[in-house]
């Protein structure tokens, strides 16, 4: 009897494994992916990287320019996140189970949130560029819209987790809706909200690089320029300062989280 159970379990694992193999095979066929080329490129890229992709003395003279671009990216990441957050918070209040005012409003809020979250960042960038041309403003707006979508969901989950007992208690005491929100819900969830803000900023630094690459601004553009002019030493310097900034932000955010959470 128990022998059957074991084989059943093993059959399940095998089925999952088989499914993954089929998926991989199908994907390789569909994309006509050349595995051989993939692996040789992998090796080639590492060999090339070690022999060419490091900063040289000459590239250090570009450092002030690079840092200026990095500063631009840093500002845009924070500005887009922070300015998107009040709008996201408002929508999250509409959509959250604990704080919602009206059923239809909730559905609408969740729908809007889902739309903005699933709309790819590049699509925003491409569409905005048509009118705003290549500028920092375009990058800011694209990140603003992308952050808005992500934050709506994150904030909604935070608000959902606020103890409904707290709200019930105040409702029972006859407190009006807005005072419940400002006196109870917001203070109870503020640390998590700030934590998500910090997370969004970290993510936006990376995404800003991509958007900058498309919109010709910030650190992404700096990389593009050096890369296309085969100045790989300077390009590697861009990578290094980006890594330093991202890791510094991560470390800083974690330190702040330890204090506030």
């Amino acid at each position: 009897m128990s022998v059957d159970i074991l084989t059943e379990r093993k059959r399940k694992s095998l089925r999952l494994f088989g499914l993954l193999v089929v998926l991989a095979a199908a994907s390789i066929v569909v994309t006509q992916y050349d595995i051989g080329k993939g692996f040789t490129s992998l090796v080639k890229a590492f060999v090339w990287g070690l022999s060419n992709f490091y900063p040289s003395g000459a590239s250090l003279s570009k450092l002030p320019d690079i840092l200026k671009k990095l500063w631009e990216t840093f500002l845009i990441s924070i500005a887009s996140t922070v300015s998107a957050s009040p709008f996201a918070l408002f929508l999250a209040f509409m959509g959250s189970r604990t704080t919602r005012a009206h059923g239809a409003l909730t559905a609408a809020a969740r729908g809007i949130g889902s739309f903005f979250r699933n709309m790819p960042l590049v699509a925003w960038a491409m569409i905005l560029m048509l009118a705003f041309s290549q500028s920092s403003l375009t990058g800011f707006l694209a990140l603003f819209l992308g952050s808005f979508g992500f934050l709506v969901r994150a904030f909604m989950e935070v608000l959902d987790e606020v103890d409904p007992g707290l709200i019930e208690a105040l409702k029972a005491a006859g407190a009006p809706y807005y005072s419940i929100i400002f006196r109870v819900v917001l203070p109870a969830s503020a640390p998590q909200i700030v934590s998500w803000l910090l997370f969004m900023i970290e993510t936006n630094i990376r995404d800003a690089t991509l958007v900058g690459f498309l919109t010709g601004t910030g650190i992404g553009f700096a990389f593009d320029v050096y890369y296309k002019s085969f100045n790989y030493h300077a390009a590697s310097l861009v990578v290094i300062v980006t890594v330093v900034l991202v890791i510094a932000l991560e470390t800083g955010s974690n330190a702040i989280r330890r204090v506030i959470l």
Partner: protein, 252 residues
């Protein structure tokens, strides 16, 4: 906490104030963008790209996302086991975590371009470059899943004389499989978006490249709308599946 919020607000104010709009007349641009939105979302059209072709391009994008997810998942499984504090010696776990943090900190577009030097711009470079970032993410997630396991179970199997491989396959993986699967699926969603992005930015095959062509080359708003709808529909579908998957896994 309020100090953090105040600091962020101050940086934001400064950032907005110094934002370079490149001489664009902002009200005009907003008006134009809104008009564009109307065309894009209300009048999607297929001119160069038929709906069937768009579906194929979408499939191509998904297939690349699957390849990236499976390849990086496999590598991350190994690295995650070696990077988990309760399963590997400390110097090794610290080394892996440090390398992984750097790999993760490099934006995926830069990874793709670095690989493009060796492989040329296109799908090969995109798959390899995005895999790097995906490995950075999944290794961290997997290692943390393993670390959250009850150490007693590992200890119990050590006490019966089981070796490392047996402990991994009989205790660690069965206990953490649901976490691994939901992290992997989450990453698949991200990889899909990333492949779209690399199509637009680094010439990877798929719907992202069409997006780029429609907007930057042809300025074809109708087609841009069609493509956007395809991507959006698939992303929402993935999100719904992800919620289902999570619910099912939670039950098991």
């Amino acid at each position: 906490m309020w100090a953090t919020v105040a600091a962020l607000a101050a940086i934001t104010a400064y950032g907005l104030f110094t934002l370079d709009s490149n001489g664009v007349n902002i009200p005009d641009a907003i008006g134009e963008t809104l008009r564009n939105f109307r065309t894009i979302f209300l009048h999607p059209e297929s001119r160069r790209l038929s709906a069937g072709a768009a579906a194929w391009e979408l499939l191509l994008t998904v297939a690349q996302a699957i390849l990236i997810t499976l390849f990086s998942g496999l590598v991350s499984l190994g690295l995650g086991l070696l990077g988990a504090r309760n399963l590997a010696p400390k110097p090794l776990t610290q080394a892996i975590k440090a390398v992984i943090a750097v790999v993760r900190a490099i934006p995926s577009i830069l990874w793709v371009l670095i690989f493009a030097v060796a492989a040329g711009l296109g799908s090969t470079a995109a798959v390899l470059g995005l895999s790097m970032h995906s490995i950075g993410y999944l290794t961290k997630a997997y290692a943390e899943s393993f670390e959250s396991l009850d150490y007693g179970v590992v200890e119990a199997l050590q006490a019966v004389g089981a070796n490392w491989w047996q402990i991994v396959f009989q205790a660690v993986l069965p206990s953490s499989s649901t976490y691994l699967l939901s992290w992997t699926f989450l990453r698949f969603e991200m990889n899909f978006t990333n492949v779209v992005a690399m199509g637009a930015a680094a010439g990877a095959a798929g719907i992202g490249f069409d997006l780029f062509m429609a907007s930057s080359l042809y300025f074809d708003l109708g087609e841009l709308g069609l493509i956007t709808y395809f991507v959006l529909a698939f992303a929402i579908l993935l999100e719904i599946v992800a919620i289902r998957v999570k619910a099912v896994l939670k039950e098991r």
